[in-house]
Symmetry: C2
């Protein structure tokens, strides 16, 4: 028979068993971390009616969408988890309690140009808190704690959560009489790290934007504010009283910073960063980015912010919210490329592999049942192979323990347990073997999936 060459589409991540176990562990920790903060899991369809999904979209995003017809239906694969959330909240509004806290870890689809590290199918791990009419600022203050807890649980240490407030930016440009050009100015200012202050000043005072040198100077001075949280806030106080928007933003930022320590975020994992804007038409209050300190080239690994109106395309209800998103597939790819996945994380499919050495398999089956009853992930290997091949199978799986059951062991009511890491083998009662495996498993449960060097 002619064979079809098996292949996986480029831009689609398909992991081998070991990295898949690492990914599963990361997802499990994300679920646990989000749950600690009272978020409920959601799972919306990957396919939506195109007119629903594209109520807002346009431009670059719309071009990337996987859109097709089936029968009479015009369908699209979701390209993020935010639009489906907006639809969900508008559709089920009367059945939800607000503030509505949900997390969703799901695949989204974007038909981007294929290139290394870019994915067309990728997981996003999002949390959002949606208010009904209003949403207290404390929700914005809580987000850095969730980011800190989440990345710490994953095993990361060298990261920083960077926060700004869009009202501060908008208010500042209002003071300078530049509200109409604020978006373009912010886009220019965003290049500061790349092209330096002089070129930014030249662009600002150039024909297109037409700022005065004084305005450009004040912008660069403002953007250049650095220091501890207290120092930055103190500097910002110098602009207070000239714009209600600015003052409100500064109050919000002060509240967010003020609760950090109560929420358990260490000072060195947080910074106020006035250069962060995060898109120009969506966020209205606090905005967040998260940088890996040793890998600035990766960009932000967890971003988001406060918005005023989640579902304006579907409902007249005012639904303000705050949310963050982790691009999980890309993060996993980058961690893997950088060698940051922890080799000590257990990735074997079983805690123990039983190798029966007798014709009669009944004792091995009974032992497997007993170990599984104790919660031990147990695999029975009964293929007709040579001993060497059986041990090679154990090695390939990476199981921490192999359990031999031969006539000698059976005669004594014992089992032989081999610790694959040390090579030590011990003759133990079944209960002793069970307890030894259980304590090893318990110790391994604390190993984080990420290990920095």
């Amino acid at each position: 028979m002619a064979k079809q060459k098996p292949r996986t589409l480029s831009g689609f991540m398909e992991l081998l068993p070991r990295p898949q176990q690492q990914m599963e562990r990361m997802m499990e920790l994300l679920r646990r971390s989000y749950s600690l903060y009272g978020f409920t899991p959601l799972d919306t369809p990957a396919i939506e009616a195109s007119e629903v999904l594209l109520a807002k979209a346009g431009g670059e995003t719309e071009k990337q969408i996987y859109r097709f017809t089936k029968g009479d239906s015009d369908l699209s694969l979701r390209f993020d988890l935010t639009v489906p959330l907006a639809k969900y909240v508008a559709l089920h509004y009367s059945e939800l309690a607000f503030p509505f806290r949900r997390y969703q870890i799901g695949k989204v689809y974007r038909g981007e140009r294929a290139q290394r590290g870019r994915f067309r199918e990728f997981y996003q791990a999002d949390i959002d808190i949606i208010g009904d009419g209003s949403l207290d600022i404390l929700n914005e203050a809580e987000i850095p704690a969730i980011i800190y807890q989440t990345f710490t649980a994953l095993g990361l240490r060298r990261f920083q959560i960077r926060v700004n407030n869009r009202r501060i930016l908008n208010g500042f440009y209002e003071m300078l009489g530049l509200s109409d050009r604020a978006a373009d100015i912010m886009r220019t200012v965003d290049k500061l790290d790349k092209i330096g202050p002089e070129k930014v000043a030249a662009l600002l005072t150039g024909e297109e934007l037409g700022l005065t040198p004084e305005q450009a100077d004040e912008i660069l001075k403002f953007i250049g504010i650095k220091g501890s949280q207290g120092e930055v806030l103190a500097s910002l106080e110098g602009w207070r009283g000239r714009s209600a928007t600015f003052d409100r933003g500064l109050d919000e930022l002060t509240t967010v910073v003020g609760h950090l320590s109560g929420f358990g975020v260490p000072e060195d994992h947080f910074a106020v960063d006035l250069t962060i804007a995060r898109g120009l038409d969506y966020y209205t209050g606090t905005v967040y980015e998260t940088a890996l300190l040793d890998h600035p080239e990766i960009g932000s690994v967890c971003s988001g912010g406060r918005y005023d109106n989640l579902a304006e395309y579907y409902t007249d209800k005012q639904l303000p919210g705050v949310g963050i998103s982790i691009g999980l597939t890309r993060l996993f790819y980058v961690l893997s490329e950088q060698g940051l996945l922890n080799p000590a994380l257990p990735t074997a499919p079983a805690d123990v592999l039983i190798l029966p050495m007798t014709e009669d398999l009944a004792p091995a089956v009974a032992l497997a049942t007993r170990l599984r009853g104790a919660g031990i992930r147990t695999q029975l290997y009964t293929e007709q192979k040579k001993f060497k091949q059986k041990m090679s199978y154990a090695d390939k799986l990476g199981v921490p323990f192999v359990l031999f059951l031969g006539d000698d062991e059976l005669a004594q009511g014992k089992v032989s347990l081999k610790d694959m890491a040390t090579g030590e083998q011990a003759l133990l009662s079944p209960d002793e073997a069970r307890d030894r495996v259980l304590s090893a498993v318990a110790a391994q449960a604390l190993v984080p999936p990420i290990a920095e060097k």
Copy 2:
């Protein structure tokens, strides 16, 4: 602004938070159960190249496929998890250890005619054990244990695992000289429950199949074998020695039945059922179905069997295997319709809701951080609402505990913990409150998602 009416496509399950929590719990238990037996999780793309996915497909399945083009690519959404597994094993063959045990819980897509209880996007929860060249019969014997353990963990009691062996059926028809008509005969015999033995006999001896009355009698006698496992096996021994295929099938079935008790499957949860065939061209050995005893109308909720060649469309390697599949979305739908989801399963997004009663939120924030540090899912409610609305929010969420923190409590270094089930409120130290919540959470962790009446 004109609004787009929010809607979810028909045939696509989108759950409210409470049922979603029930579904999540079921998935978590499936993952845990499959892991106990040494299966490793996989996650393959939902989109595959059409020529890869459709290497085998045809007929009804191909019509239902979501197929579309993006750029130059002819793409399809997967319609099951077996074809992607075949591709995966063929593609990554040299990097896998065999027998390869994998589980996958993922969404698949079929554009079926929309009707109640039929889904176009649905979860399948599959396990498969793939051998390289050969696969020991013990793997087939282990499958009923996995089914038993899985459904028991979910909370089901009234179910039965029904097993047959395709070699027994094929060998039996071989004895009668009816191998060429075996498929058609089995399709006819499959109607026994619906139309009764007389009409089946009429069909068998009718023009189309053309069996003699003696052949029809023997078939009905064979299919009608009932009784305990021992009785059925003893009856089958009466046919031994007339077909090598039959004899091998009977040996296999005897081995499978012989290990049941060692694998922990109670006798009353298992039956040999000679009417089970499960598709006519794929399975070659043991076949499995699982019936809910009080809901026979649902049909099998977990089915599968042994096959000889997983990936013949992609590789010359002989890869025999055995696998089972749970149609999870449909199962969840049916359980919900039948009122079998356990109302005692905790579905609140948090274990405790903190209601601060003071202007200064710092003590409430510190308390939330402390509880979360102890692993308690904690939500802080800080919206400016009346007390009644706050309690109504707690009720809607279904949180088991509400924690009040007012001036009185703070002055005494205490908190007020209200047990929402009993209505009792107690003034406790923060540690006492933590311990009380933790022990309630621990007790709830054992509540299964399904409860039969």
